[in-house]
Symmetry: C2
Subunit: 391 residues, 2 copies
């Protein structure tokens, strides 16, 4: 019968894609749009690394074009292993790392590997909108832990304790967080690790933004519960190759080969060109310099966005982000419906933001404001227009 | 509970990966291995196209690195649309094309979109080994149509008629075929199209090798049943970028957006770098010239392999392939167990082939011999050693 699988009804147009399409339409109408919606980096990868790729393209052999092992080339996994040691003093051997076609393939393959229909999985609210449709697809029962703006979006350890049980299959924690920019505290990480060990659940930790930290330092969940932690990572944000689709997952030795097998069935192997690029990047002296330059650029943009929000939206409530690319702004003093506001803001004021409802069932009057893609002048202008739009 | 999904038990180490690992070990022992096992092209992509990529890497903007639409950039889909018109006089608009992270992601997302647990799916035997584990994972019930060597591996239309029914959800046909090199006849395509229309099932047609044709021309299934045909394609073979992971799927307007959504959840978007490359390639005058040059090189290799098989294995039975990269050789006059033979051949004679049992429950004394990866001299030497190994 010419029909479709029921299960894919869990998959809908990605929320940011909806904004993207409205944006496309405005572009066709020649209207300029200020992009406070995307997590697209604004600093291209270092020229030194691009030069190495340019040289490799000259070589007349199949090396750069060939299939790679489905786990990823050893050189790239070795470079990642050293990078985790250098950045976080972690000991993760190359065997416990699997390269994936971006963080999204890392999420998909990890959930495919561990989630059985009916399994309970705990998400924070707000959290990155990518997890819910995958959990629905794999048949998980989602429980949420609401994190409070007044508590800096830090999960309340008592609430965590009340939420998890022997039925918990996994808990997902994004840090630095998307959409709030909150970074995990050591005591929270320790509490989650203790609970995971007590109840035997998986911790899925999304570390997409781990090198984009403006205050303090990144807390690696894996340090506290190495047998229970599956970490999802991407090269989309650092070194800014989102379109090239490369990320990696690391975790305990029993889970990584299974995640590898799922990736093999999904995409056969991760993109070789990006693997080659990342091996050059991570092994180069430019690696730490590039990150600190990018963090300084993004920090100035963040500070400008925070100042503009205080100036033009004085009754907005938000926590200045300690990491990542976004400010999660509660506009409930001004508006009720973040979705209607975001559409109106784009249509009438030419400013794109993402409604809070895409991340949360609680913060429905919030919007996510990205501060990385645009220049400081345009960020300020975008926030100024937001101020006009709420009055 | 720290456990795994039952469903992924459908996924096992890929058969060619097993051979690859034996090969890796022999490499470490400094033993030369003649590779008659892989479908890896031996002619790198055209230099003109690589030059365009080298120029693009010089530009200091995010263009080459940014996320693309999840369906793929319009320019690449437009180029594919024109290519299908030029090669096969097909009318497939860019809206009915979705770019995927290789043919494997095309297969995964297509089956995820249409297969419901319990659905009957018809495979040829022999057929490409990539389909069975995915069908097991999605819960399909597999029925097979054995194609006979004496009939040139063409499916018997009467057997097809007896196999399909109202319960058939899909029929998978690979053409040019892997492992047999058989190309679909017009009358077979018409018969399959009629059955699909009568019973309302999907035809999944794998056209990975559609430009590698040595005799006759490629028959496009889509021409005969456009409402029922989902076509899976790859750029791994032409223009020889298997590691870069780009392919595409085309089909009717109602199925393509669903396949796109699945790809979005799997990998977010196809690799941008490869999309850029393919748009340049397909729009360039080098496109047809490159294919005809590659086909001539592979044809000479095929002819050498056929001659060597006749010389060194006179009792072997095979059909000289009309397309693709392989000869499927029935060695039942010499041996019983193709798997044991392939392992012995690699270990003792340093020649890698893939056992027939990876493609078939019927041809267990066969092996698949690839004729593209090695030079003519090494192909001949490999077949000579096969002759020594069977006596």
């Amino acid at each position: 019968m010419r029909s479709f699988s029921q299960r894919i009804s869990a998959f809908r147009e990605s929320p940011t894609r909806k904004i993207d399409q409205m944006r496309e339409r405005l572009k066709k109408e020649n209207r300029d749009v200020i992009l406070l919606s995307t997590g697209q980096p604004s600093v291209p990868p270092p020229m030194e690394v691009r030069e190495a790729l340019r040289e490799a393209l000259k070589v007349n052999s199949m090396n750069l074009y060939a299939y790679t092992p489905s786990q990823g080339v050893y050189e790239a996994r070795e470079a990642i292993s050293r990078d985790l040691k250098q950045l976080g003093q972690l000991d993760v051997p190359p065997e416990q790392i699997v390269l994936t076609a971006g963080g999204q393939a890392g999420m998909f393959s990890t959930l495919a590997t561990i989630v059985e229909p009916g399994d309970e999985v705990v998400l924070m609210d707000p959290t990155y909108f990518g997890y819910r449709p995958l959990l629905d697809y794999f048949g998980a029962v989602v429980k949420t832990v609401v994190t409070e703006l007044d508590a800096g979006f830090h999960p309340d350890i008592e609430v965590l304790k009340e939420t998890v049980s022997r039925r918990t299959k996994a808990l997902v924690v994004v840090s630095p967080d998307n959409p709030t920019g909150r970074t995990l505290r050591v005591e929270t990480a320790k509490a989650i690790a203790d609970l995971a060990q007590d109840y035997g659940f998986w911790i899925i930790t999304d570390e997409a933004y781990k090198t984009l930290i403006y205050e303090g330092s990144h807390v690696y969940m894996y340090r506290f519960a190495p047998d229970h932690t599956i970490s999802i990572n991407t090269f989309s944000k650092d070194p800014a190759i989102p379109g090239w689709r490369l990320g990696y997952v690391y975790g305990p030795p029993d889970v990584v080969p299974k995640i590898k097998l799922v990736n093999e069935e999904m995409v056969y192997c991760p993109p070789s060109f990006a693997q080659y690029m990342v091996a050059v990047y991570l092994n180069s002296e430019v690696r730490l310099r590039y990150v600190s330059e990018v963090v300084e650029i993004y920090r100035r943009k963040r500070d400008a966005a925070v100042a503009a929000l205080r100036k033009y939206l004085p009754k907005a409530r938000f926590v200045p982000p300690a990491g990542a690319m976004f400010i999660f702004v509660d506009l409930s003093s001004y508006i009720k419906n973040g979705e209607a506001f975001a559409e109106m803001l784009l249509e009438k004021y030419g400013v794109a933001v993402v409604p809070g409802s895409y991340f949360s069932e609680t913060y429905r009057s919030a919007v996510r404001v990205s501060f990385v893609t645009e220049t400081i002048e345009r960020i300020e202008e975008g926030v100024r227009r937001m101020g006009n739009a709420v009055t």
